[in-house]
């Protein structure tokens, strides 16, 4: 077995093994948490190694099983996948640290199941990231869906169960009804589901068929939360904060757009994306999603609901990039990373505030930042990054996304993004700013948690906020790394 194969196998097995160990030693909290953290760090190191190899052009690959003739469970790294894997694993490690603080502070039950499902979900993410064909990607996409369901329904009360049902219903429903048939049709048309540089379906499907397939996939990958399959996301906010942070800013939603980016680049290819009649309609829908979701976010007082709607809008940015295809995929890839880091910072912040004070409404947060300067400072940084202002990573992705939209002759998409930037300022900035400034009316809520914000949860916020800044300078290298995706430099 070559080094590359070993790397892939280790990346897949590490989270699974971790899940097993967590299950086995659940009682010993400290050991369990330490192992989770170590596993996250180890996974990030593995992913970094894969990223380096992929960057050198020596992409690791592995065929794990042949379920049906012509249909393999196969893995093959390419830049976007390597980036996604590294991003998710790094943020998992950070998020683990955060979870310890949060879950203990909130005295949540069933923590062993929580960490175990988290590890399983990471296995799903790794599978999606490294998948060498659509079939494998679908498998792990579903693994991710099912592994995260217990996390969404974690609290186990009626509301959580209802949210869990909606979550599973929409995600699994869309993938079964739409995504799976699309993949099978691709398989029938092309004889395989492999990701091929330049597009698998080139010369194998006409524009009309490609359009149908594209629509099936875009709505089938409901994790990307394009209207009208977005409804699961706001509902999933009943989950504990680390879940919202990791899954609904990083892993799950990004898996959705990641699928779209991959499909655009490696299944359809730029020409077929451009030639088929459905793309334009979907782009308009994405533009509508961007604007409407931002408008809805403005009306939400519940901070996690606001962030969830913001995520829906921001995901549609990346969906647009996937739909435009070609060079825009690079922008989409960068957007995937910068939004993940920015949004996880925001969710971290919201979680810490809730854990420390029990406040979850924006209107009750005035002046709270005086007592929690680090949290609100990081929240400000995350907000600026998500809005797309320098010196934070979000600026570059927004810039590139708008550039590509204009370049592709999609001015409406670009203008929707611009309008959404204004709107996102209006719904994000007041949270941090009013929080950091002295209260003007009633006094802010007191700490319900002795000692204030959980210490273990503050470090991760600082880390991700710093990452927002670092990404401003890393944007160039990331774009260069993703270069092969766009089919060469511009």
């Amino acid at each position: 077995m070559s080094t590359g194969e070993t790397l892939i196998l280790a990346t897949l097995l590490l989270p699974l093994f971790t899940a097993g160990v967590i299950r086995a030693i659940g009682r010993a909290e400290d050991v369990r948490d330490t192992i989770t953290l170590l596993a996250g760090i180890a996974l990030a190191i593995l992913c970094a190694a894969m990223l380096v190899r992929t960057g050198e052009g020596d992409a690791p690959s592995l065929v794990l099983a042949h379920p049906l003739p012509g249909l393999d469970i196969a893995f093959k790294l390419e830049p976007l996948g390597a980036l996604f894997a590294l991003m998710s694993s790094t943020l998992w490690a950070v998020n683990s640290l955060y979870s310890f603080g949060y879950m203990r502070a909130k005295r949540e039950t069933n923590q062993t199941r929580f960490y175990m499902c988290f590890a399983l979900a990471m296995a799903g993410v790794m599978g999606v990231a490294m998948a060498g064909n659509l079939f494998t990607m679908f498998i792990f996409y579903e693994v991710l869906t099912f592994a995260t369901y217990p996390l969404v329904a974690h609290k186990g009360d009626a509301a959580a169960r209802r949210a869990g049902r909606i979550y599973l219903g929409i995600l699994a429903g869309a993938s079964v009804l739409l995504l799976l048939p699309a993949i099978i049709i691709i398989y029938v048309l092309a004889g395989s589901t492999d990701f091929v540089a330049g597009g698998l379906l080139v010369d194998k499907a006409g524009p009309a068929t490609a359009g149908l397939l594209l629509a099936l996939i875009v709505f089938g990958a409901a994790k990307a939360a394009l209207f009208p399959v977005h409804a699961w996301l706001p509902n999933a906010m009943v989950a504990p904060a680390p879940v919202s942070a990791m899954l609904h800013a990083v892993a799950v939603v990004k898996a959705g757009v990641f699928v779209l980016l991959k499909v655009s680049g490696y299944i359809f290819g730029a020409d077929l994306m451009h030639a088929n009649p459905v793309t334009q309609w979907l782009l308009w829908l994405a533009a509508a999603t961007i604007v409407i979701a931002s408008l809805v976010a403005m009306t939400k007082d519940e901070i996690k609901a606001r962030l969830a709607w913001s995520t829906i809008g921001q995901l549609a940015y990346i969906t647009s990039a996937a739909l435009i295809g070609g060079a825009a995929l690079t922008a989409g890839g960068l957007g995937m990373v910068t939004h993940a880091v920015g949004k996880i910072t925001l969710f971290f912040g919201a979680g810490v505030i809730f854990a420390a004070t029990g406040v979850s409404r924006v209107s009750e947060m005035r002046g709270l930042g005086r007592r929690m300067p680090l949290t609100f400072g990081a929240f400000l940084v995350g907000s600026l990054s998500v809005i797309g202002l320098p010196p934070f990573g979000g600026m570059w992705s927004k810039f590139l996304l708008i550039t590509n939209a204009f370049d592709a002759g999609q001015p409406w998409t670009a203008w929707a993004m611009i309008a959404s930037s204004i709107l996102s300022t209006m719904y994000l900035m007041p949270i941090a700013v009013y929080g950091l400034l002295p209260p003007t009316g009633t006094q802010p809520a007191a700490f319900t948690l002795p000692g204030g914000a959980p210490r273990l949860s503050l470090t991760p916020i600082a880390i991700t906020a710093t990452l927002c800044l670092v990404l401003f300078f890393l944007a160039g290298p990331i774009v260069a790394f993703l270069g092969p995706l766009a089919g060469g430099a511009r």
């Binding site: 099983a65 049906l68 498998i139 186990g156 079964v176 799976l180 398989y187 029938v188």
Partner: protein, 508 residues
């Protein structure tokens, strides 16, 4: 069948007589079990008998892989005088399936009969079970239409009795209904065979097929066809003739649930496929019409309506029973495409379904000691108190719902693939919608079992080890074939070929 080509499971002398031994073995075991001194020895005989049958099925598989078809004439008398066994790839597939599931059911029976069957009747129960096994195996091995009827009735009569014997009072009316409907079906079938005999003058299916080809448009043949497919449809629980099934499966002793759900309707399906493709052949207009205008719509309706019904059931076994009818719909949908891809996909699904359903009933039956009731709500939180049993149950449920990495996923994949290749886009939609409904009832069961609080504290305990072994074998098989389905795909493809359906070549 390539997997079996170099497969020599027994000395040549035994292999030569494997076909009759496949049936006779369990028959002898049935007698022995009835006469055996104790429940325990009856159980051991039962296990031995089924293992022997499985062994013989493996021998036959090797022979079929090498020679294509195994013909065996009892006492050397060729048909039409003698009793002929004719086993091809399709027959072998069913023989393997029935005997394999038989072994699992027999293993399982050792620990559950005490809970469900009155003390004195346990040996006879084992005997009846073996009789069923023998009947079904005979059905898969025979080459004679009338013998097929005989074997069908042997197994059926055993089944009627075995369903009714349990401690659950509701099983009696269920068994009676099954008896009535089953007998109507059998009668229709034998009437149909009679018509065919009148038209062709033979009962040997191969001969029948040859002569039908020369007959042309014959009212008698057409009438016979109608009676045969409806009769077998009744036995196979073809929608809307499935009314007998849910109660029969739900209230029967769990051994019967385990065994019947995997085999009984499947055997009828086998016979139907045999008649549709071998005896009549899809080239006949009325067969084509039947497949397109009766079987396909009825199958689609079953897949959706019965899945929807399953969602609303409160009794966990009735959920599984309705699911079975829906799965029969899938299989028939595949068969009705009358293409190599479709039929092999249907058979592949049938194979998986057999594994899954027996595993699921086994898991429920294994808890029969602990949980007397069968309401879904009674299983609240069982996932925490009996994790091993219920994890296997969960795997089965995943496979049932077609979750990736399980065998059920791959067979649904194949079905959709075949439907698209046949340009049946509506069937793609039906399978997708029905899969979604399947996810819902599967999710409902799992949510109750794993995420609700247990009803009471003292309800604890796993199924016994003897139950867990076959249960986990089946669950593991579901996962294994989800990762590498070459064996069932091989079997079903060869079976479809044996039915005279050549792959279209367009298949990847």
């Amino acid at each position: 069948m390539n997997a079996f080509i170099d497969f020599y499971a027994a000395p040549p002398g035994l292999t030569a007589h494997a076909a009759p031994l496949l049936v006779i073995g369990p028959l002898i075991a049935a007698c022995a079990a009835a006469l055996s001194p104790s429940t325990r020895s009856a159980w051991m005989i039962s296990v031995g008998g089924t293992i022997f049958a499985f062994w013989m099925a493996l021998c036959l598989a090797g022979e079929v892989a090498r020679n294509g078809v195994v013909n065996y004439y009892m006492g050397g008398f060729a048909p039409p005088l003698g009793i002929a066994f004719r086993i091809d790839a399709l027959g072998v597939m069913f023989a393997l399936l029935i005997s394999g599931i038989g072994v699992m059911a027999a293993l399982f029976s050792g620990h559950t009969l005490e809970a469900e069957i009155m003390k004195g009747k346990r040996r006879l129960y084992q005997s009846g079970f073996l009789l069923c096994v023998a009947g079904l195996l005979g059905l898969s091995a025979t080459g004679d239409a009338f013998n097929a009827f005989v074997f069908l009735e042997v197994s059926s009569i055993g089944t009627y009795a075995l369903i009714g014997v349990g401690v659950d009072r509701r099983a009696l009316p269920a068994a009676f209904n099954y008896l009535v409907m089953g007998t109507i079906g059998a009668t229709f079938f034998v009437i149909g065979v009679g018509f065919l005999y009148a038209a062709t003058g033979t009962l040997n299916m191969a001969d029948m097929s040859g002569r039908l080809a020369t007959l042309g448009d014959s009212r008698v043949v057409e009438a016979g066809f109608a009676f045969i497919v409806i009769g077998l449809g009744l036995k196979a629980a073809m929608f809307p003739l499935h009314g007998w099934l849910p109660a029969a499966y739900a209230y029967a002793p769990s051994l019967m649930g385990v065994f019947l759900s995997a085999t009984a309707t499947k055997a009828a399906l086998y016979l139907m496929a045999r008649f549709l493709f071998t005896v009549f052949g899809p080239h006949l207009d009325f067969v084509g019409l039947f497949l397109t205008w009766v079987m396909a719509p009825v199958a689609g309706a079953a897949a959706i309506i019965c899945s929807a019904q399953a969602i609303f059931q409160t009794d966990i076994r009735r959920i599984l029973a309705f699911s079975s009818v829906a799965q029969v719909g899938y299989i028939m949908l595949g068969v009705s495409m009358a293409s190599a891809e479709g039929v092999s996909a249907g058979l592949f699904h049938l194979f998986n379904q057999a594994l899954i359903k027996s595993a699921l009933f086994m898991a429920l039956g294994g808890l029969a000691f602990n949980i007397k009731a069968t309401k879904l709500s009674d299983f609240s939180g069982v996932g925490r108190t009996a994790p091993w049993t219920m994890t296997a149950f969960a795997i089965g449920t995943f496979s049932l719902a077609g979750v990736p990495l399980t065998a059920g996923f791959l067979s649904k994949w194949r079905l959709i693939e075949a439907a698209f290749a046949a340009h049946w886009l509506w069937a793609v939609g039906v399978i997708a919608v029905s899969s979604l409904l399947g996810l819902i009832y599967a999710g409902r069961m799992l949510e109750t079992i794993f995420f609700r609080a247990p009803v009471s504290e003292e309800r604890a305990g796993e199924a016994r080890f003897g139950v867990l072994v076959p249960l986990w074998i089946l669950a593991a098989a579901s996962v294994w074939y989800g990762l590498d389905a070459s064996l069932p795909v091989d079997l079903s493809t060869a079976a479809a070929q044996a039915l005279g359906l050549a792959p279209a070549g367009a298949a990847p």
